[in-house]
Subunit: 190 residues, 2 copies
């Protein structure tokens, strides 16, 4: 089981950790968003059980062990990827003692369903993290992947606003600021 989980350290994302040349991986990302959620819990849209939020964030990317990470801006194929991730987490959590496997799967499913206050807040934090890194990284992953300002805002605003409105208000201002600085100027309209 631990050999399987270790593979999440090898699933790379599109953002680079600040000051490092390599890409971020999904294991360290999962740690970071758990910490961010704990730090921001008082700003959640509703009162949330932070322990369940952290649990969801720690397991939510484990399906990527089989499927790899897909950038949030990729369109199409979403349902197929989610079905593949579900098959993956069933396989991987199935390696655990049964009650633990079920508990992890329930957390994973709650995150996917995105209907409880906890899962909405967890989604807001998950969406916000790469934005915060990009804001400290001169928009590195947006630039490298040709993502426009409109595409960033369109994709992340609804989820962040739903789960953590104060965080969206902050990010909205920061995004507008860097747009004016020209961070998105080289990106073609899309």
């Amino acid at each position: 089981m631990q050999q399987m989980m270790d593979k999440l350290k090898g699933v790379t994302r599109k953002v680079r950790p600040l000051g490092l040349a390599r890409y971020e991986n999904s294991a360290e990302h999962s740690w970071q968003i758990a910490m961010l959620a704990a730090a921001l819990v008082s700003y959640a849209e509703a009162t949330v059980d932070i322990n369940r939020v952290i649990g969801m964030l720690l397991v939510h990317d484990i399906g990527e062990i089989d499927t790899g990470d897909t950038m949030v801006f990729v369109e199409g194929g979403w349902e197929e990827r989610k079905a593949a991730e579900l098959a993956a987490v069933k396989r991987i959590f199935g390696l655990l003692p049964e009650s633990r496997g079920i508990a992890f799967l329930e957390l994973w499913q709650e995150f996917e369903d995105a209907s409880t206050p906890e899962s909405l807040f967890a989604h807001a934090v998950d969406r916000a993290m790469p934005v915060l890194l990009n804001l400290s990284n001169e928009g590195q992953s947006w630039r490298e992947n040709g993502i426009s300002y409109e595409r960033v805002v369109g994709r992340i605003a609804p989820e962040i606003e739903a789960g953590c409105p104060a965080l969206w208000k902050y990010l909205e201002g920061r995004l507008e600021e860097v747009r004016k600085k020209g961070w998105f100027d080289a990106v073609k309209c899309d």
Copy 2:
């Protein structure tokens, strides 16, 4: 604050993730031991609040942002390092809203004090993780750093046995097995 936390991704440890050439970093390690703790909670020596265990494991290495990681087998200088880590976490958690900063510092301190059932279990899991990786990695970090069988067992047995006796029983058997296979043969006595 998130810029500061991001630096934990750049703190390297001595173990390499399975199948990867690079060294593990303390952020992904923190994620992995939180998952391991959740998976093994029914084997803890005492009944524990798993949420507090996870909280401790997520924050316990944050002081390394200022101090770097030190291999558990390094002798001497322990107290100085711990004092430096305390100064570091006070500085870093001080960047958070006050109540959050205090909550993180309390978790960090509970782990350091190692006197509650939760912190004893957390220590057991933290100690066991690199052993599990080494057992899947032909003893990579032991070999690279000239760590003998006696030194591994002497350093980890008390803590793992105190917090999670069943885990120690399992590891004791596995370590004896790989010792017989000669994994430690090239290491000089120390």
